[in-house]
């Protein structure tokens, strides 16, 4: 998103993760206009330091579902960020929060769908949909 000319600000508890941002970049993260703040997503000071007040979009994608759901709701309700997306691994809760008006992305659901279609494509016969025409190939 940074490459496309958007202004991107990352917040992470681990100062070391800054290095990961620069992997594959020709210049430094900050040189390209990126921001990086060290802090916890539940700390409003850290969110504000990262510029949540003027954000057009907010993505909560820490490795904890609960943290993401809480922070996303804070971004939505307290800071009124127009576009808020939360990563939720648990498909049941992703579904429920989606219905509550939170935009969610569920990597588990995506992986299940991909694996499922990979299996269907790989099945040699039995007429699985989306897998070309296995009967003819045989």
């Amino acid at each position: 998103m940074l490459r496309e000319g958007h202004e991107v600000s990352c917040l992470d508890e681990d100062p070391e993760s800054h290095a990961r941002l620069e992997v594959g970049l020709e210049k430094g993260w900050e040189d390209l206009g990126g921001h990086f703040t060290v802090g916890a997503g539940l700390e409003t000071e850290a969110l504000e330091a990262a510029g949540i007040d003027r954000a057009d979009a907010f993505i909560a994608s820490t490795d904890g579902d609960n943290t993401n759901i809480v922070i996303a709701q804070i971004a939505q309700r307290r800071y009124g960020v127009p576009t808020v997306i939360a990563r939720i691994l648990d498909p049941l809760r992703a579904e429920w929060y989606e219905r509550q008006g939170l935009h969610t992305v569920c990597p588990t659901r995506v992986a299940i769908n991909m694996l499922e279609s990979a299996v269907r494509e790989g099945v040699p016969r039995g007429g699985a949909p989306g897998g070309g025409d296995p009967a003819q190939a045989a």
Binding site: L42, E43, T44, G64, D65, N66, T67, I69, V70, Q73, I74, R77, R78, D90, L92, R93, W96, Q100
Partner: protein
């Protein structure tokens, strides 16, 4: 009453014990296998193993018919979200959440998780009560009703000692409801004269504390104290 307690730490375990003693039906949910096995030896079928953040774990524990959900895990996000789904998805009437880090209190409020209880806050309240320098002690906060009851100890230098209650310039939205003197409490009338060492109770709209502090605190510019 059927009560779901989430988290079988010290708080959850003892809470469950008390509630069972009071003949409530209780299920405690614990996600740590070792802790679960330990607690299970005593509470037996009243403990359930699993991560209560997951909806199916809550459902297996019978959240649909729970009258109350109490979330007392050591993780604030967990407590918030468990209470949020309990109320909004499963329509549980009563919820109580534990706050581990008092700085997270605004988040609980933002998500409408009420009441929330913080041990740090409780100790601070006690501290206020035990250490008179704090001046003003909150006895009761009724957030929904927008009312609070406070207690203040009148020092020797208080601006209101020796004055009639009827003559006090009480801020609008506040009322003196009781005076504790030499271990006895009474309801003051307009002719009651306040003395140093009195503990006064007042009911007020939130936000009036500062005005009361000034009124009942040390006399300023020589006003009042000699009557």
């Amino acid at each position: 009453m059927y009560i779901l307690v989430v988290g079988a730490g010290k708080v959850g375990w003892n809470l469950a014990r008390e509630l069972l003693d009071k003949d409530h039906e209780v299920t405690v949910i614990e996600s740590n296998r070792r802790r679960y096995l330990m607690v299970e030896q005593e509470l037996e079928h009243n403990v359930s193993y699993g991560d209560a953040s997951e909806l199916w774990v809550l459902e297996r524990a019978g959240i649909q018919r729970a009258d109350m959900v109490i979330a007392v895990t050591g993780d604030d996000e967990d407590n918030m979200l468990i209470c949020q789904v309990a109320r909004e998805k499963y329509e549980v009437d009563r919820i109580i959440a534990r706050i581990n880090n008092p700085r997270n209190k605004p988040h609980f409020d933002l998500l409408g998780i009420k009441p929330s209880v913080s041990a740090t806050d409780l100790i601070l309240r006690l501290l206020e009560h035990e250490v008179p320098e704090y001046g003003l002690v909150h006895l009761l906060d009724l957030q929904e009703e927008q009312l609070e009851i406070i207690e203040m100890l009148l020092g020797k230098d208080s601006g209101v000692t020796g004055r009639r209650v009827g003559d006090l310039e009480m801020p609008e939205g506040s009322l003196l409801i009781s005076v504790l003197r030499s271990g006895k409490g009474f309801v003051p009338g307009p002719d009651t004269v306040l003395e140093a060492g009195d503990e006064v109770l007042a009911v007020l709209d939130p936000g009036n504390e500062e005005q009361l502090k000034v009124l009942f605190g040390p006399a300023q510019n020589g006003v009042g104290s000699d009557g």
